[in-house]
C-alpha cells in the first residue's frame, strides 16, 4: 500500500489532475508519437549529452532577457532549482521513456513555474527559443542529410508539445485551484448559523443552493445544534431567489436531520413566486413548518420555547397587578 505521506507534491498533483497511466498514453497518441519517432529521438542521445548545459543556458538566458522572466526568477533558490530540473528535462527528453515518472518531473517544474508566477506566454516563448537552439544543433549534425535532420527535429518536437500540454494543464490547474479554494471560502462564509437567543438558532440562506452547498448547510447546522443545545431553528430563505424540486428536497432533508437531533425547524421567507412554483411543482411540503416572514418565525420560535417578549412597560403593569 502506498502511504500518502510518501508521495511527492508532483505525484499528488498528478492524482488531483487525474493523470493516470492511460491518460498519459492517450497524450502520447494525441501528439502522434510513434516507434519511428522514438528511434530518431534516441539517435540524439549523444548530441544532447554533450550540449545539455549550453541548451539549458540558452533557455534561461532568454527568460532572464525578458522583464517578466527576470522578475519570476529573481529568487536564486527557485532559479537554481528550475535550472537543475530543466537540465534533467532535456536529458530525459531523449531517453524515450515518456511515462508516469517523466510526467511527474514535468509537473514538478510546472509547479515551480506557477509558484514563481512565471506567465505562460513567457514560458512558451523561452521554450520556443530552446527548440530553436536544439534544432540548430540537430541540423548541423545532419548536414549531409538535411531532410532526415528535419524529420528527427520534428520527432523531438512532438515530445516538446507533449511536455507543453502537460505543463500548460498543470499551470492552469494550479491557477484554478486558487479559484476553487476561494469558492469554498465564499460558500462557507455564506452559511452562518447564528445563535440569537438561548437555544434558538437562526440560519439565513442567501443565494443559490446546490447539492454541495446544501450538504454543508446541513452539516454546519447539525454541529451548531449540538454545540449550542438548540431546540428551535429558524431557517430564513428570503435570500433564495428560486427553488426547484432538488433544492426543496435538500431543505426537507435538512429539516428532517435537525428533527432527528431533537430540534424543530421553522422555515420563513418563502416569497409568493417561490410558494407558487413549489405548488406548481407538486412538492409535498407538509413536513415543513412554514411561516410567512422572519418576524413571525421568531415569534413562533419563542412560543415553542415557552418565551414571550414583553415591553418593560407591560412588565411593570403586570407585576403591579399581581401586587394589587
Amino acid at each position: 500500500m502506498v502511504d500518502l505521506n510518501e508521495q511527492t507534491p508532483a505525484q499528488l498533483l498528478m492524482r488531483d489532475m487525474g493523470l493516470t497511466e492511460r491518460d498519459i498514453a492517450r497524450r502520447r497518441h494525441i501528439v502522434g508519437l510513434e516507434e519511428r519517432d522514438l528511434t530518431r529521438i534516441a539517435s540524439l542521445n549523444e548530441l544532447m549529452a554533450s550540449h545539455v548545459d549550453e541548451y539549458t543556458t540558452a533557455f534561461f538566458d532568454y527568460l532572464t532577457g525578458l522583464d517578466e522572466g527576470r522578475l519570476a526568477l529573481q529568487n536564486t533558490a527557485i532559479a537554481h532549482r528550475a535550472r537543475q530540473l530543466k537540465r534533467g528535462h532535456l536529458l530525459a527528453m531523449v531517453q524515450t521513456d515518456y511515462d508516469v515518472d517523466y510526467v511527474a518531473q514535468r509537473l514538478e517544474l510546472a509547479m515551480l513555474y506557477s509558484r514563481a508566477g512565471l506567465e505562460l506566454r513567457v514560458f512558451l516563448a523561452a521554450f520556443h527559443r530552446l527548440l530553436k537552439v536544439i534544432g540548430d544543433g540537430i541540423m548541423s549534425r545532419f548536414e549531409a542529410n538535411p531532410s532526415e535532420g528535419f524529420e528527427t527535429f520534428m520527432s523531438l518536437k512532438k515530445v516538446a508539445f507533449f511536455d507543453i500540454g502537460v505543463i500548460v494543464d498543470a499551470i492552469v490547474f494550479e491557477r484554478e485551484r486558487v479559484i476553487r479554494q476561494q469558492q469554498d471560502a465564499i460558500r462557507e462564509l455564506s452559511t452562518p448559523v447564528l445563535q440569537i437567543r438561548e437555544r434558538l438558532l437562526l440560519l439565513p440562506i442567501v443565494g443559490v443552493i446546490d447539492t454541495h452547498r446544501a450538504r454543508m448547510i446541513t452539516e454546519s447546522l447539525l454541529r451548531s445544534i449540538r454545540a449550542s443545545r438548540a431546540k428551535v431553528v429558524v431557517m430564513d430563505i428570503t435570500g433564495v431567489a428560486t427553488i426547484d424540486s432538488r433544492v426543496a428536497n435538500h431543505l426537507i432533508q435538512t429539516v428532517t436531520a435537525a428533527r432527528l437531533m431533537g430540534a424543530s425547524v421553522i422555515v420563513t421567507g418563502l416569497s409568493a413566486e417561490v410558494a407558487q412554483s413549489l405548488v406548481a411543482l407538486g412538492i409535498d411540503l407538509t413536513k415543513l413548518n412554514t411561516i410567512g416572514d422572519l418576524q413571525g418565525g421568531l415569534e413562533e420560535a419563542e412560543r415553542l420555547l415557552g418565551q414571550r417578549l414583553v415591553t418593560v412597560e407591560e412588565r411593570g403593569r403586570s407585576s403591579a397587578s399581581v401586587e394589587a
Binding site: E219, L222, R229, A230, T256
Partner: protein, 123 residues
C-alpha cells in the same frame, strides 16, 4: 450485548452503548415491551448517544419499539442522535416519523415531564 434498561420513576431508560446486532435489538424490543407493563411506565427513552451508525434495521426496530410502547400506554423519546448519524439517516431516506426526538437524556426527560404536566393540567 445486553442493553441495560434503567427505571427512573415512571420512565424506562435504555442506553445503547455499542453497535447492536439484530438479535440484540429484537431482545431490547421484547424486554422493553414487557417492562412497560410490569412497571406501569409512562415514558421510554432510547439513548443513542454512543452510536456512530444506525442502519435501516435498527431504525425499524426503534420505530417498532416506539409504536409498541404507545400501544402499551407509554411515550417514546429517542435522544442523542449524533450529527453525522442524523445526516447519514437523512441521506438514506430514514426518518423516525411520528416519534419524538430530543438532543440528549436531559432534554428527553424534560420532554416527558412536560407532557405529564400538560396531562395533569387537563384532568
Amino acid at each position: 450485548m445486553d442493553v441495560p434498561i434503567l427505571k427512573q420513576g415512571d420512565v424506562l431508560i435504555a442506553s445503547i452503548q455499542a453497535a447492536l446486532s439484530d438479535q440484540d435489538l429484537i431482545a431490547l424490543r421484547d424486554s422493553l415491551a414487557s417492562r412497560i407493563g410490569r412497571f406501569r411506565s409512562r415514558g421510554v427513552i432510547i439513548d443513542l448517544m454512543a452510536l456512530d451508525v444506525l442502519d435501516s434495521f435498527a431504525t425499524r426496530m426503534i420505530r417498532d419499539i416506539a409504536y409498541t410502547a404507545r400501544l402499551r400506554g407509554a411515550i417514546t423519546v429517542v435522544v442523542g442522535i449524533q450529527p453525522e448519524v442524523a445526516f447519514a439517516m437523512v441521506q438514506l431516506g430514514l426518518s423516525l416519523e411520528g416519534i419524538a426526538t430530543a438532543l440528549d437524556l436531559e432534554e428527553g426527560l424534560a420532554h416527558l415531564s412536560g407532557r405529564e404536566r400538560k396531562r395533569a393540567a387537563r384532568s
